[in-house]
C-alpha cells in the first residue's frame, strides 16, 4: 500500500499543524510516514501545499494524479491543486474564499469554483469551517473543524479516538478545549 493525501491552504491557516497531527497519529498506528512541508518565504500568506504519504513509502513528493484525497482550508487553494488527485478522488474543503492580496486581482465566484471542482473530481464535501470556528472562538481552529470532518469521512486509516489523541499531543494545553469542540462540530458537519 502506498497512499497520498494532499493538504492545501493559505500560509498561516495551520496547515502544517494539521499535517503534523495526522502524521503523528499515523506513526502511532505503526505506519511508515512521509509528511512533506514547505517553510520560509512561501509561508507568508502564500499558497501552501503539504503532502502526506503513508504505507510502503519513501519518497516525500508525489506527482500528478496520485492523491486519494485533497483536504483544503481555502477554496482557491483547493482548486489549484486538484491535478494532484486520482480520478474519482475525494475533496474536503473549507467553503471560504480568500482573494490573493494583489491589487486589482480578479477572483472567480464561489459557484464557478464549486462547479470547477465538481467537474474534475469524484466527490466534494464543503464545510463552513470558518463560520463554525468564528462561532466557537478564534478563526485559527478552522483547521481542527476540517480535521473533524476528515475523521467522520473515514479517509484516513485512523479512528476518531486516534486523531483526538494526536490532537491532544500536538496542541498547547490551554487551546485544547476549544479545539475539541471544533473537532466535534466538524465531525457533525458532514
Amino acid at each position: 500500500m502506498m497512499e497520498t493525501i494532499v493538504i492545501s491552504g493559505v500560509g498561516g491557516q495551520g496547515i502544517l499543524t494539521m499535517a503534523k497531527i495526522i502524521g503523528y497519529a499515523l506513526v502511532k498506528k505503526g505506519l511508515r510516514v512521509r509528511v512533506a512541508e514547505v517553510h520560509g518565504m512561501a509561508q507568508r500568506g502564500g499558497s501552501v501545499v503539504t503532502y502526506i504519504r503513508y504505507g510502503d513509502v519513501d519518497c516525500p513528493r508525489p506527482s500528478h494524479g496520485m492523491a486519494k484525497a485533497l483536504i483544503s482550508l481555502e477554496l482557491l487553494e483547493c482548486t489549484r491543486y486538484l491535478y494532484l488527485l486520482k480520478r474519482g478522488g475525494i475533496v474536503i474543503s473549507n467553503d471560504w474564499i480568500y482573494p490573493p492580496n494583489v491589487p486589482g486581482v480578479s477572483v472567480p465566484s464561489k459557484e464557478e469554483i464549486v462547479k470547477l471542482i465538481e467537474e474534475n473530481t469524484g466527490k466534494l464535501y464543503l464545510i463552513p469551517a470558518n463560520k463554525i470556528a468564528d462561532s466557537l472562538g478564534p478563526r485559527l481552529i478552522a483547521n481542527t473543524v476540517i480535521l473533524g470532518s476528515v475523521a467522520k469521512l473515514g479517509i484516513l486509516p485512523l479512528s476518531k479516538e486516534e486523531l483526538l489523541e494526536s490532537l491532544k499531543k500536538n496542541i498547547k494545553h490551554k487551546y485544547l478545549e476549544v479545539n475539541f469542540r471544533a473537532f466535534d462540530e466538524g465531525y457533525k458537519a458532514v
Binding site: V35, G40, M41, G45, C59, H64, Y83, P99, P103, R139
Partner: protein
Amino acid sequence: MILGSPGERALLLGNEAIARGAIEAGVHVAAGYPGTPSTEIIDTLAKVADRIGMIVDWCVNEKVALETAYAASMCGLRALATMKHVGLNVAADVFMSIGYSGVRGGLVVVSADDPGCHSSQNEQDNRYYSLMSYIPCFEPYCPQEAKDLLTTAYDFSEKYETAVLFRVTTRICHTRGDVVLGEIRRIERKAEFTYNPSRWVLLPVNSRKLRVKMLERITKLEDVLSSFEFNRLEGEGKVGIIASGIGYAYTRDALKALGLWGKVRVLKLASSNPLPAKLFRKFIESVEKILVVEEGDPFVLRRVKEKLFDLGVQIPVHGKGDYLPVAGELDLFSVMRAVARLVGVEVKEPSESISLEEKLSGKIPTRPPTMCPGCPHRATFYAIKQAMKELGERIPCTGDIGCYTLGFNPPFQLQDTSTCMGASIGEGAAIARFTGKPVVATIGDSTFYHAGVPGLINAVYIQAPLVAVVMDNGVTAMTGHQPHPGTGMTATGKRSKVIKIEDISRACGVEFVRVVDPYNLKETIQVIKDALEYAKRERKPAVVVARRLCALVAARKGLRGKPPVVEDCRGCMVCVNTFACPALIVEDGKVKIDEGLCFGCNVCTQICPFGAIRVRK
C-alpha cells in the same frame, strides 16, 4: 521528544532528526546562521542545549559559524556547523582551508540545498564544494538515515581526520518521517587547544605538504567507503540505477510502483564524493546501462562517466540532462518515467492531470507570499515610495535577502536588485558612485550584521551618495524569529550586549544617521527625504534605521493594537492600491477592516485621503 528514549519511534522533521543525530553523537558545539531549509537544526538544539550541556550558537554569519565549529574541532571537541546552500558560499573561505588542515574533534558541516528555489535565490548544488575541498560528501535519503548517517559521520570524521560535508535538500530537511531513536552518547571532553603549527597555520610551507596528505586521504576514502554500511548493492538485473541521497527514496517508490523492485540492480549511495571505488566496480560488472537518480545537478552522473572512462568501460549512462530534468526538484512521476524508459516498459502518462493543471492555472489567480498585516516593512516601503513621489524622482532601490524582498511585488515594486546577503549596500553604493545619483539600499537588521557592514564601510570609503535604509524589526524574521547581535539575546535565550545599528553606522564613518518608527509615516517620509537630499548635496552615505518590532513577534507578546474603524468610506481604493495590507478588504466597493487579521498598527489611518479610517477610541 527530541530527548526521547532509545527504541522510541517518533515523528521527526528531517532537521529534527539531524539534531537528534548530533545529540546521539555526543556533539559538544553546534553553530549556524539561520537559512531555509536549515534553520530548525539549531532551533531544535538550542531548546535543549542547557539540559544536555551542548554549546549552541547563532552566529553573525555562516563564515563565523564554521570558524566556531572548526575552532571547537581544533580544541578536540565534536562540532556541527549548519547553513543553507548559499551560506556555504559565505563560509567557503574557511571550508577550503579545512580540507587542507583536516580536523581533530569530529566536524560535520550541514549544507541544506534548496532545489526548486522554495526560499532561495538559486539552486546551486553544494556537492561541488566537496570536489573542490577534498572533503567527503554524505547524503542521507530519509529522516531516519539523516539521523543515523550524521551520528556515524562523527566517528568517520575522527577516524580519518577529515571534516564531512553533510548535504541535505528541502525534501529531507522539511519532511517529517518516522524515526527510531538511538542511544545518546555522552563523550566527556575538555576543550584544549593543541599547538600544531604545521597543521593549523596554512602558510605555503605547510599547505604544500598538507595538499599531498589531503590527496592521499581522499584516494584512501574511495576504498573505505566501499564497505561503508550506508552504501550498498540491491536487486539483480542487467539494468542498473545509481541512487544518491534522496534519489534513493524516489527510486524505491518508482520501482515499486512499476512492479520492478528487485528486478533492477541498484547502487544505493550515501556518499556522493568520493565514489566507493570497489563497490562501483562490482556494480558495473553485470549492468549494461545505467540511470543516475540524484537531486540537483548531474553531479554523481559526471563522476560516474569519469570513472567509466578511467576504467575503459563503455556503458551508456543517463540521468539529469537527458532522462531527468536538471532544473527544479525531482518528483515521483519523473523518476518513474525515467526508470520505465531505461528498462523499456510502458508507463501511463498522467496527461489528463497535466492538462487539468494547465487549465486550472489559467483560472485561479496566483497567490504570491505577502508581508503580514502590521508588518513594519510595508510602512517603510510606503514611506520610501512616498518620499520619491514628493521629490519627483524614481530612485534606484537595491534590495537584499529577507521578508522585505517581498517589496518586489506590487504595489511597491521597490527591489530593483536582489543578489545575495548584504549586496544592497555594496551594489547600491557602487551604482550611486557610477551614476553620480543617489541610490536607496534596503536591508534588514540581521542581514546588516551578516554582510552589510563591510559594504557600508566601503560606501564611506568611496564616498557614495547612498541612503541605506536598515529595516530593523528586531529579529531574524523570515526564518522563524531567531535572535541576532542586535537583540541582546543568544540562541539559548541568555542575555548579551545589544549591538546597535546606529552605533555601528557611526563607527563606520557615516555622519548622517537617523532612527525612525515606520509606523509614524510623516516622520519616516521626512527623514528619508532629508537623507536623500543630504546624500545628493554632501556626496556621502546616510543611514536611516526604520525600527519597529516584527508584527508576528509583537502579537505573540500581546502588543496588538485595536483595529481602526472605517466610517463613510468613499471607495477611492487609495489604501488598498498603495498600501495593500491583507487586513484591508473590499466589500461592495467599500473598504472594511478584517478584524481577525488586523494587527492594529494604525498605519492605514494615516493613508486614507478622506480620513475615513480612524483610530479606534
